[in-house]
Symmetry: C2
Subunit: 477 residues, 2 copies
């Protein structure tokens, strides 16, 4: 019975999803609370997931010509104020440094909530000629937003992210980069995190402070709530005009640059937990699993068992992230622990297996047990990891599709949002008053106007006037 202790201590996800989430984060040892209110420690296991995200995303960025840089973490107040919409969006939620060393500062500095203003200041000096363009820079760093309510990974006062900031000669090029990066994010979520996403454009109400257009990828969590998982913004030449970023074109004329920015955050780890997790805990897609295979020796005190386990580890280590659990815990306890941590495959090896020249391989995602000859173990594991990656995506996709509802009337909308958690697809007239009213009455927000538009009805789901766009609605994190 004690073996099940770890699992029993987590709340059922069907009973209380929020508490289940908190339990998983804690029991899988992803984060911890700190003495700094609203800020988290990202523990080794959580950070290792972030490193895998970082490495794979960074490779994808660099393949499109992105270069990494590092800009200061502080923004002088006067710099933050240069672009009107931007400062209005961020000023209420920034932290201010007012003292440096033993003296008060002449001008207070905010801790960056995002770095558009710093990049503009930088580009203003860097860009002179069309030869200096495009600038396609990115930085990996932490940012600070003074949130009132915080939850690990989903919303915290400090979080890790990457922020790409680009400057281009033409509006067309900026728009192409904006959608290109959204596509990079979408593919990354689908191929690496096994999370299907809806790609679309934010309404004016929901777009980024200072942007002309914000594109987003939206994912559906297990509880039917939406999670904005990455955004890409086209700023047009608004920031360039506010900061005076001009270049001389081929005809020696001064032109304003066109800019973009795009980012994803440690929030993606929250998405992984809430899309894939189950009653036994975390479930990691193989491509972001710090440990892909855990070898559990059975009757490990018997002669030769630990040695064999170690031999298998050494054999598999060339191709997979693999560990042996040699602790003195019971096998049952080890199983529960590895399930909690979401390790995709478990390999059990005991005296009888050794004698038979085989091992028992157990899938975390389905619980399926497969007896595999040791001579075929490595190949089989490679195959199973691919299968798990694919099956997890398919399962998440099926869940999303079965929790996406087309509605054509306001009554239907209200009934659906109350009784069927998920995405709602409905038509919209384009008027912000309807958007506001829908949010006010149901708590649902416009998640995006999907690129893949469909004609569901002729009229706005709220006001009944002629519809302009199909929109994804949902309650969101």
């Amino acid at each position: 019975m004690a073996d099940k202790k770890m699992v029993e201590q987590i709340t059922s996800m069907e009973e209380d999803f929020a508490q289940w989430y908190t339990d998983v984060v804690r029991k899988a040892e992803l984060t911890d609370y700190t003495s700094v209110k609203g800020c988290m420690v990202i523990k080794p296991y959580g950070y290792a997931i972030w490193e895998l995200i970082q490495r794979q995303l960074d490779d994808r960025f660099k393949a499109t010509g992105v270069e990494n840089v590092y800009l200061p973490m502080f923004i002088p107040e006067s710099l933050l104020q240069k672009e009107k919409d931007h400062v209005e969006g961020f000023a209420p939620e920034v932290a201010w440094v007012t003292q440096g060393g033993l003296a008060p500062l002449q001008e207070k500095l905010c801790v960056r909530p995002t770095s558009e203003t710093l990049f503009c200041d930088f580009y203003q000096k860097e860009v002179e000629s069309y030869r200096d363009l495009p600038k396609v820079y990115n930085q990996w760093c932490s940012v600070v937003r003074w949130e009132k309510e915080t939850r690990p990974f989903l919303r915290s006062r400090e979080f890790l992210w990457q922020e790409g900031h680009t400057a281009h000669a033409t509006a067309e090029e900026a728009e192409a980069r904006t959608t290109q990066m959204l596509e990079v994010y979408a593919k990354f979520c689908e191929e690496v995190l096994a999370i299907p996403v809806i790609k679309g454009r934010k309404t004016d109400k929901e777009k980024f402070a200072g942007a002309e257009a914000t594109y987003t990828i939206e994912a559906l969590m297990h509880d039917g709530k939406a999670l904005q998982s990455g955004t890409s913004h086209n700023f047009g030449d608004g920031f360039a005009k506010a900061f005076g970023i001009q270049y001389q074109d081929k005809d020696n004329k001064l032109q304003y640059v066109h800019q973009t920015s795009w980012g994803v955050t440690t929030r993606l780890i929250g998405a992984i937990i809430m899309v894939h997790g189950d009653e036994s805990g975390l479930k990691l897609p193989p491509r972001v699993a710090p440990t892909q295979v855990m070898i559990v020796p059975i009757m490990q005190k018997k002669e030769g068992v630990l040695e064999k386990a170690e031999e298998l580890r050494a054999m598999l280590a060339a191709d997979y992230r693999v560990k042996v659990d040699k602790t003195d815990k019971s096998p049952g306890y080890k199983f529960a622990e590895q399930e909690m941590r979401g390790i995709p495959l478990r390999v059990e090896i005991g005296p009888r297996d050794i004698e038979a020249g085989q091992a028992l391989v157990v899938r975390r995602d389905t619980g399926e047990k497969i007896t595999v000859a040791l001579t075929e173990l490595s190949a089989k594991i490679g195959e199973l990891l691919e299968t798990i990656q694919k099956d997890m995506y398919e399962k998440a996709l099926a869940h999303r599709d079965s929790h996406t509802y087309d509605v054509t009337s306001w009554d239907e909308f209200k009934d659906t949002i109350e009784n069927k958690p998920g995405f709602i697809r409905g038509m919209w007239c384009g008027d912000q008053a309807c958007e506001d009213a829908i949010k006010e009455e149901t708590g649902a927000t416009t998640r995006c106007m999907p690129f893949a538009q469909e004609h569901i009805a002729d009229t706005c789901v709220y006001c009944g006037k002629p519809a302009k766009k199909m929109v994804y609605f949902g309650r969101a994190y």
Copy 2:
């Protein structure tokens, strides 16, 4: 003549080393100034060097069992104050956040200058039993110290670094980890950065605020000044007592943990510049060169030249970091530019080379020109990069050795420090009064008490009393 423009614009290192350094940093496009006083932009080329340092150092850390984590960037004032020596050391140079969102904070938060206190707060909750030990954690982040005088990479208000923080059951284990990490740093500097270092212990005067012992690696720059390049601290159980970090040992007795911390920073890039650079600019050791080989097409408008250059690039790209300079600049300008950026090898390929089935390979470190058959190009480049890496180390070592002076009297000390820039080795009585007086009178500080002690004389170089230790002295950055 215009081809030499880039080179001519830098100050001679023999005339004005400080200005030469600033020129190289700017012309090689490593950093830029910002609107935030004392903070720098690390530009793509500079950041790419940091990424290579990070990746290789991180691999070496992980090979010793280090796990990465992320802790908050803020430290509540009350937490910073828990260890007396530590707060005295850092409080005068920290930045304080006093406002979050629109309201003043109840307790002000400092932006981390280093994270000992945060790790202690974390370990205090994490460590209960001997089974939880050791904790061997590291984080890559930026820290802030409100310096008055700043210089790119060497001293800035915000800089990037890694900070390792460990907790152990015994004093012996903590001491072993402290020296192990110093050894990792020393080997990394020597093998990757091609910088020889002196390993030793800091005097009590120079040790880290709150440490029992600080170990250091000290490198000698081209101008004869020393640069502290990495430190590793043993805290004993001082922090553990201040923060109440206890564990239950195997006999169920409560014991305090023993802790260490260790770090290196973007300062290492400053060391690379000042150890290896020359009148033509930066000179990068191949292992940290973002571009190891630059292919320069000669008469690139002639048919087939650019194609051949691209073909060579594709062939070399599997094994080396290689680029083709296809810009419309003249070859001479390209050569000067690549010398400024310190790219280890240049491959020139023009119509006559193509006809002869060869290319001209030019070493950045020596200027040597080698004609190589295209069929042997890849192998030869691998060989040359190894040779350059080794030769750069040997050259730096010879420079250091020829600028290290043993002195036995105070007159000799004063003469040497004024007229022979470099390390001074001398005996010391162990009394801080002598150390203070030496610094006061000459500006030289004790760099370290080297592990490799030698008996140079019987008496202290300053006071003439019996000597206890041989010390490296020097003026330092």
